[in-house]
Symmetry: C2
Subunit: 336 residues, 2 copies
């Protein structure tokens, strides 16, 4: 590595100036004469000293880099949010480096260490584990979470969709269209986003005077992928001759699984069973029939998170904005 062939101290000695002056010249940071600049540059060139961004980070404790932890980059919703984060920070002069944690707590730890070690100026954590292991970080790095509620911590902010309202809206849409026996397809994973959607479903049923039976809450097998697990779960309901006329699937992949397995069993959608999904991923638009769903505003989520993170980095963050909730929208298509 060329940059370690000669130290900044050595350059200072050879140029006959102080280390601070060499640093100012390298960073083009005022307060030196043109004569000094030329002297230093000459020594640098003669010695092939190259400004290494790591060495620079070490001196300045600022890397102009943002780290993003994402549980699954192949998830369309997460990918769209990451794209927005990258776009936002590039315009602000930051590079964004992305780490995929594969929903694995050990990987999340490793990547937190990696990003900390790379001197990121801020971190965005998207969903995944509920707890952000800030104790792993050796530096005090501002953190914003998207769609996960961190344990209360002074420098961890969070931005999420209004999952509760989404669950309510989805269920109300089914009730409005005449459904009276509404199943919910969901997961046992303790994520606030999933639990809030479920609460919204239950409150909408209660408000409409509909009973909430235990058999209506259908948990899918989280070891399988969403689509296959949802197919199995609904097939199981059919096999048990449990009657239902509506399904709120807490994500679109589960909704598609329900749609496909019902069609395989000869059901007409939406005539016999109505379905509402969640997330508004592209597949919900192009499946047959196109699926009614709840849209999360990825652009607003990402931009609010980025704006707040930048404010934290620059020391301008307002405590009143530590928790921000973004509205969701019902997208009516042909499964209701």
């Amino acid at each position: 590595m060329k940059s370690t062939q000669i130290s900044i101290k050595e350059i200072a000695r050879l140029s006959g100036v102080s280390v601070a002056t060499v640093s100012r010249v390298i960073n083009n940071n005022g307060r030196f004469s043109e004569e000094t600049r030329e002297k230093v540059i000459k020594v640098i060139e003669e010695n092939q000293y190259e400004i290494n961004s790591i060495a620079k980070s070490l001196r300045m404790n600022k890397s102009q880099t943002i780290g993003v932890l994402v549980p699954d980059i192949s998830n369309e919703f997460f990918a769209a949010v990451v794209l927005e984060i990258e776009r936002f920070f590039f315009e602000e002069g930051y590079s964004t480096i992305i780490c995929n944690t594969a929903k694995n707590a050990d990987k999340e730890k490793e990547y937190l260490k990696t990003l900390d070690g790379k001197m990121v100026d801020g971190l965005v954590c998207i969903s995944g584990q509920e707890e952000v292991l800030t104790n792993i970080l050796k530096r005090k790095v501002p953190i914003v979470c998207i769609d996960r509620r961190p344990k209360v911590h002074s420098n961890v902010a969070f931005v999420e969709s209004n999952h509760y309202e989404g669950g309510r809206m989805a269920t109300e849409e089914l009730i409005r269209k005449g459904c009276r026996d509404i199943l919910v397809l969901t997961k046992k994973n303790n994520l606030s986003s999933v639990n809030e959607r479920l609460s919204g479903y239950m409150d909408a049923l209660k408000e409409a005077g509909l009973p909430v039976h235990e058999y209506q809450i259908v948990y899918i097998d989280t070891k399988k992928d969403n689509l296959e697990a949802a197919k199995l779960a609904i097939q199981n309901q059919l096999d048990q001759r449990i009657s239902f006329d509506g399904i709120f699937a807490t994500n679109d992949w589960m909704g598609l699984g329900a749609l496909l397995v019902l069609q395989e069993n000869g059901y007409k959608i939406p005539e016999q069973v109505k379905i509402v999904g969640f997330d508004n991923i592209l597949i919900s638009k192009y499946c047959n029939p196109p699926m009614t769903t709840i849209d999360q505003d990825r652009v607003v989520l990402a931009n609010k998170a980025c704006r707040f993170l930048l404010d934290m980095i620059e020391g301008n963050a307002l405590a009143s904005e530590l928790h921000q909730v973004v509205p969701v929208t019902l997208i009516q298509r042909h499964t209701t």
Copy 2:
């Protein structure tokens, strides 16, 4: 930052050993007595010196990090390849950091600099620009490209699908099913992958004794998204009363655009027009009718690229494997 509160030199002085010994203790790298170890650890603990991975990278010129440049992380094919890269290297003890270049040459340059500055041990470049700007890198970093052909350079390898064969197979499938007027939907972007698919199409037509007319090669507007641009391009063919009975779309999104616009115009698929896509993204499986397509083996592509990159990092790479081509498969569904 705690790590700069006390330097390694200072620790050496306080422990009464050499800097090299302190470094060996920190890295747990043999050749020191237990007594020395305890002495150094005590000084470190008393002074809260924490091993900073950047400082460590500077000393060892190895960061156990792989950089990935990807043109669009929201593209399902790219995301799947990135996931495999991350999985491969995590098992080998490397962290993977991902940068999204948004198909923008300036961003690609910035991110190459960023990754170089973060001391990555190797780089994977997925598609995007044809030329890898290795002159931007200050260090000699091994590079593997996936699905893009780099200019010949000693430390740049490349792994790609057999795009030519894919184009041939897609076109042969249409011919086999009775098509005689086959359009190809493609882009003018100078990427080898796209051009190879087009060559395969042309050779298959010639081999079957079918003429290749200029009007059959339909270029979509690359300023629009693939689906919308394909819809416009096929609508334009219909408006001009150009007759055709088959379409080879050089990616699935274009294939879906063709399918939708033909259905909107009252055409029956596959009875009146047959369609083959490329990439085998999920949408091709769940659209209506499900689309015949060419599958690129994402797992094999990623693993071959990673294996070769690791070999380069470890100095074991074979020149004979600098260029590797991965076979593709025809997935027959209901648009042919």
